[in-house]
Symmetry: C2
Subunit: 223 residues, 2 copies
DNA sequence: ATCCTCAATAATGTCGACAATTCGCCACGG
DNA sequence: CCGTGGCGAATTGTCGACATTATTGAGGAT
C-alpha cells in the first residue's frame, strides 16, 4: 500500500508547493508528515527545510518547527523594488550582449504571450512572463544577479496577491514587454533599463492595487 | 557594538572562518573533522554546510562532500556590481529616512575611521568600513535589500584580494565616505545614491587593480 | 612505462531510536 | 470566572550505526 514516488527531491517539491500556493502562508510544516507525503526520509526533508529557511521561503524556529513564511504587504513591495533594481541592471547588460538566438527566443515567447492574452489564459500568460524574464537574465550573462532575482520570492507574490486579476493588466503588460524587446533588439542599454524599470514600476503599482483590493474586500489577517 | 556571546553554533563559526580567510578557497570541509574541531555533532555541522551552500559560501557536491567555494575574478566583480546597485538604492532611501541618531552614529564611525587611517591600521579600518555601511542599511529601513547585500560574499572578497593594500586607497576611501555622509546629512537622495555608486565604482576599480596585481605577481590557479 | 582491475580506505547519505522541548488540555484553587 | 500549574501527546533535535559511494594505491598484464 505504500505508494512511494521514488525520485522526489524534497527541496524542489516543497519549493514548488509553496510558490504555487498549495501550501498556505503560516501553514505548519511537520517533518514526519512531509516525509510520508512525498516519500522521503525525515533527514532529507530536514535538509530541505534548512535550505528553504535560508532562502526565506520558510520560517524555522528552534524546537518549534517550520512554517511557510508569510510575506507581508510591505515585504512584498520591498521584494518588487529590489527586483526592479536588479532586473534593470540585467536588462541593460542584456542589451549589449544578447545574440540573434536570444532575440529569436524572446520573439517566440512574445507571440505565445499574445495568444494567451487573447485567449484570456492569465495563468499560462504568467508562466510565459516568467520565461520572458529568464531569457533576459540568461542573455545578460550575470549569474550572480540572476541567482539573486531568481531566489526572490516574487513568484509566490503573484499567486498570493493575484495581481493578474486587475482589469486590463495583461494587455498593458504585453505592451511593456514589447517595449523591452524593442530596446534589446536595438542594443540600447539605457532604453532597456528604462523600459524594464517602467514595467516593474507598473507591476509594483498593480501590487499596491491588489493589496488595497484585499483590504477593501475584508481580510482578517493584518498585513 | 555587537557583543558576541560565545557562539558554539557551527554555522556562524564556519561562516566566520571562511570570510576571514582561515579556511582557504577549495579547501575540503570534512564533516567529522569539523565536528571534532568545534565540538559539535556531525548533524549540526551538516545543517550548517547546507545553509552555507545555499548562501554560496560553500560548494556541496553529492557524495563528494563540501569545499570552500572559490570565488573567481569574474564573480568577484559581479558581486561588487550587484552591491553597487543595491547599496545605491539603500543610500537613496536612507537619505530620506535617516534620523539624528543615525547621523550621530555615522559621524562617530567616521571619526574612528580617520584615526585608524592615520594610524595605518587597515584591518581596523576595514571593519569600521563594514560598520559604516551597515548603519546606512539600517537607516534605509529595507530589510529585504539589506539581507541580500549582507548575504553577498563581499566580505570574503576583501580578504581574498587584499584590496586594502592599494597605495593611497584608505585616504581616498575616507573622502568618499565623507561625501556619502554629507549627502545623507542633507537628506538628498539623488546625491546619496550617486556618492554611494561612485564609492563602489572606486571599490570595483581597486578590485580590478588587485586582480591584475595578482596576475602580475604570478599565480598558478586561473581565475 | 602505461593502463587496467580491484581491493582497501575514507567520507558521505540515510535510517531508526531516543532525549528534549513545546503545546494543548484539564483539573484545581482563588 | 479567570489565572495557574502540571500531566501527556506531538514534534523536533541529536546521536550512533550502517549502507552507499568516491578515491586511492598496489599489483599485474600488455
Amino acid at each position: 500500500m505504500k505508494r512511494r514516488p521514488p525520485r522526489a527531491d524534497p527541496y524542489h517539491q516543497l519549493r514548488e508547493a509553496i510558490v504555487s500556493g498549495q501550501l498556505h502562508p503560516n501553514e505548519r510544516l511537520v517533518e514526519a508528515a512531509i516525509a510520508e507525503r512525498i516519500g522521503a526520509g525525515r533527514t532529507a526533508v530536514r535538509a530541505a527545510l534548512v535550505r528553504l529557511d535560508q532562502e526565506g521561503l520558510v520560517q524555522l524556529e528552534r524546537n518549534r518547527g517550520a512554517r511557510v513564511r508569510h510575506i507581508s504587504d510591505g515585504e512584498a513591495m520591498e521584494i518588487e523594488e529590489v527586483r526592479a533594481v536588479l532586473e534593470g541592471m540585467l536588462a541593460r547588460r542584456a542589451a549589449d550582449r544578447i545574440t540573434a538566438d536570444g532575440l529569436r527566443e524572446l520573439r517566440h515567447v512574445m507571440t505565445q504571450m499574445r495568444e494567451h492574452v487573447e485567449a484570456g489564459d492569465s495563468i499560462g500568460y504568467s508562466e510565459l512572463n516568467a520565461t520572458f524574464h529568464q531569457v533576459i537574465w540568461t542573455a545578460a550573462g550575470h549569474p550572480t544577479a540572476s541567482n539573486l532575482v531568481g531566489g526572490l520570492k516574487s513568484q509566490g507574490i503573484r499567486f498570493q496577491y493575484q495581481t493578474a486579476l486587475r482589469p486590463g493588466r495583461a494587455e498593458r503588460s504585453l505592451r511593456e514587454h514589447e517595449a523591452i524587446f524593442g530596446a534589446l533588439k536595438a542594443h540600447d542599454g539605457d532604453a532597456a533599463e528604462a523600459a524594464m524599470r517602467e514595467h516593474l514600476a507598473e507591476v509594483l503599482d498593480t501590487l499596491r492595487w491588489a493589496i488595497d483590493s484585499q483590504h477593501r474586500t475584508g481580510r482578517w489577517l493584518p498585513g
